[in-house]
């Protein structure tokens, strides 16, 4: 039975403690502080690697966005007054680190018994400033990370073992 990989990925992300503290959306989300948004990327069939037993190595990639408030105040080195921008990005970094930890522990989303996940990689070591939404007041920064899963799709494999 084929598994909805988007649902499997969402179910997986919802086990992240940092994500549990904030709403998670798929593809569409309101610009609101601390919202997290999964945007599915097109996964090019040209990147598929077919093997001689009929199995195919595929990729599943998506962007995870996080809406964060921004500060236009200069950084001051005063104890007890952390810079808001640094604090917000550090919070998103927690999600990135969590994904890496899960990958290292081979704790992957459940893509079903026809798929074997080989690796789950965050394609950067830190969140990227995706853009700033100036349509809301106050403006919100959107930070992003891209996550890629390489998995073996055995559904067209001829030999069953």
């Amino acid at each position: 039975m084929s598994v909805d990989k988007n649902q499997a990925m969402i179910d997986f992300l919802l086990t992240c403690p940092t994500i549990q503290r904030s709403p998670l959306f798929f593809n569409f989300a309101k610009s609101k502080e601390d919202n997290n948004q999964v945007i599915l990327l097109s996964n090019d069939v040209k990147l598929h690697e077919p093997y001689i037993d009929g199995s195919v190595m595929k990729q599943y990639r998506f962007i995870l966005l996080s809406y964060k408030s921004i500060s236009l105040n200069p950084i001051v080195k005063v104890p007890g007054y952390p810079d808001e921008n640094l604090t917000e990005i550090a919070e998103f970094q927690e999600i990135l680190d969590w994904v890496k930890e899960q990958a290292e522990a081979s704790n992957f989303p459940d893509f079903g018994d026809k798929c074997v996940i080989d690796s789950m990689t965050v394609l950067s070591d830190n969140p990227t400033l995706y853009d700033v939404d100036n349509n809301v007041a106050p403006p919100l920064a959107r930070y992003s990370i891209t996550i890629q899963l390489d998995y073996l799709d055995n559904s067209l494999k001829l030999w069953q073992n």
Binding site: E49, P50, Y51, I52, D53, G54, S55, M57, S119, L152, L156, K157, L158, W159, Q160, N161
Partner: protein, 176 residues
Amino acid sequence: MAFTSTLLEGQRAQRKLLVHVAEWKEGSETKREILGTRTEDSSIEFNPDIETMTDIRGITYTDVNKTEPQQTFDPFYILGGSALSDYLSQAALRNDINAYNGTFDVYIIQAYLKDGDAYYAVKHSGCSILPTSLGGDSFTAMPIEVHYSNNITEGSVDKLTDEFTFTPAVSTSTGD
């Protein structure tokens, strides 16, 4: 048995329809494993020993003295659930060449040739499968070479799983 092709006129046979299965014993247990998991490209090289002679009329005569079929599977990864990769890698690290010298039967199945529910197959008895290296970059790989014995039994298999039954053909041919 009369095997016929299941391919449509002009249709190419997908690579997965040519199947290679290794069979070996570990203690009293017989194990089987399909070869080629996560291998992108692998072909049987028949390695014919050819002798040619051209007579004074300019006619060329060709003699094939023998073939020494061989096949490389590269990459061949150390994979969870792969008894063959466990067996071969341990043998390689022990330098136990007797573990892979002539200890394998290898089935070659043409899954596009069928007679009823049976698939055409040949069994090479006493083949050698040897690892050529062990290591790699992100994932541990152990490329292997299969040296076919040419001790061939022609027949068929009843299904495309590790639990298949090989049935020899009535007339058995043995190569030399």
